[in-house]
Amino acid sequence: MAFLEARDVSVSFNSTTVIENVSFDIDMGDVVSIIGPNGSGKTTLVRAILGMIPYRGTIKLEGKPVGDQMSKIGYVPQRFDFDRTFPLSVWEFLNLYSENEPLREELAREFGVAGLAKSRLGSLSGGQLQRVLIISAMLNNPQLLILDEPTSGIDVDGVASFYEMLRHINTEHKQTIMLISHEINMVSTTATKVICLNKNIFCCGAPAKVLTDEMLAKLYTTHFERRDHGHEHG
């Protein structure tokens, strides 16, 4: 039995179909990256898994409807919009998720934000905020961590250390990870599985197998050139 199982998942807004008959399996311990051009339905798929939007089809976590097991999922959104002038400390923000102080302190030390405990949330840099958001998603010991474009707003050096952190979460915390990403090169070295999405699933499998120039060109429709460094956008 797959850890996460999606079968014939379709989402429509008014008369527009955003994703159609999407099916895939994720095994426990996988690092799964969803790639695809802008508007291809990546965020919509994640929002369907999280039960934030209505969908057709079935999504099961460990064989049971995912909606009944939201406590097993940690989520880091693409954009975290909030009033940056509001005086909320990092500690207070994490306390909104869980009052488990020992775990909070342990994760804060592990992710290098222990020194920011009393800082205002709004004063953090993009990279620091991203780490705090990941800790918030991990505070309830989820089995599946979902990250929606987690590196948007982080510089190139920060992106490399972010993927290093993901590998650490996957190996040390034994968490299954699903992320939406545009960094094809980082994905190819970090993910154990890639789902290529553009309304339908174009490919699904190990990066070495599916991330071919032909597949990427087909997925992104326009000419795609793999680069050794930098940021790739569809």
Partner: protein, 271 residues
């Protein structure tokens, strides 16, 4: 100084200070969510809708404030549902509803023959005219609402910060939001006899705006905002009595003056 101490021995001054302390605490706590959710116009609008309720009460010969609370709750619920069911921007919706309610209040009051002396106290407030019965109503209601807000403070902070994440964390966001709308309506309207329809929303906004200048955490924001509200209410009552001025406006001006001092000393100015 002796004159001030003598003033404090008068029962009407004691009632005003006690009512001001409870209302100030309640409004400043609610103000945190009003500021964080950018609902200042909503609270101002709800206060203005009270006029229709006051007018109904005056026409029927019933307690105007009870009718004002009923009308306020009706408008709070109407705004909550219309925000979701229409494509109108919330500020347009609030603008339409509160001006209509205000207009209805004016029309209804014009139906009552003769001069309506109570109207002025509802428009601009008169905390020193509170009687013991009103005080006995204000204190338990304020205590109950403050207790509810403090118990749920964390949840409301989470909802105000990011609704989507709060929902995923298992918080019943919609239930808490409509409760906040109703509490805001009840608290604002209960305070109009003290601070006035036109001025009451200042008690929601000024203490928290001052608190934001100094607080580094949500906990310290709560403490600073409540202390500031108490300071301006007590200070404003005593100043208004000392200089024989109307109390509500003096409370607000005291707050504005102290906020201006805070802004100059701690303000984060744009470059």
């Amino acid at each position: 100084m002796d004159e001030l101490l003598r003033l404090l021995t008068y029962p009407f001054v004691q009632r005003a200070i006690v009512a001001g302390i409870f209302s100030g605490a309640l409004l400043s706590i609610l103000g945190i969510f009003v500021i964080l959710r950018k609902m200042a116009f909503f609270s101002d609008g709800i206060a203005h809708t009270a006029l229709a309720g006051v007018a109904i009460g005056l026409l029927l010969g019933h307690t105007p404030i009870v009718w004002a609370v009923i009308v306020g709750i009706f408008f709070a619920i109407a705004i909550y549902f219309l925000e979701r069911r229409t494509e109108l921007a919330p500020d347009s919706l609030i603008g339409i509803l509160f001006t209509s309610s205000l207009a209805l209040g004016v029309v209804l009051i014009s139906l009552k023959s003769g001069y309506v002396p109570e109207l002025n106290s509802y428009l601009f407030g008169n905390i020193i005219t509170l009687n013991t019965a009103e005080l006995r109503f204000i204190i338990p209601v304020s205590v109950a609402l403050i207790a509810y807000l403090l118990v749920n403070y964390k949840k409301y902070i989470f909802i105000c910060l990011n609704e989507e994440l709060a929902r995923l964390a298992g918080i019943k966001v919609e239930r808490h939001k409509i409760t906040l709308y109703i509490l805001l309506a009840v608290s604002t309207i209960l305070a109009i006899k003290m601070f006035g329809i036109v001025l009451v929303s200042a008690l929601l906004i000024i203490p928290v705006s001052f608190g934001k200048l100094f607080a580094r955490s949500a906990k310290s924001l709560l403490l600073v905002s409540i202390c500031f509200a108490e300071l301006i209410v007590i200070g404003g009552i005593l100043l208004s009595l000392a200089f024989n001025l109307q109390t509500g406006p003096v409370i607000i001006l005291t707050g504005t003056g102290l906020f201006a001092v805070g802004l100059v000393t701690r303000g984060r100015w744009r470059a």
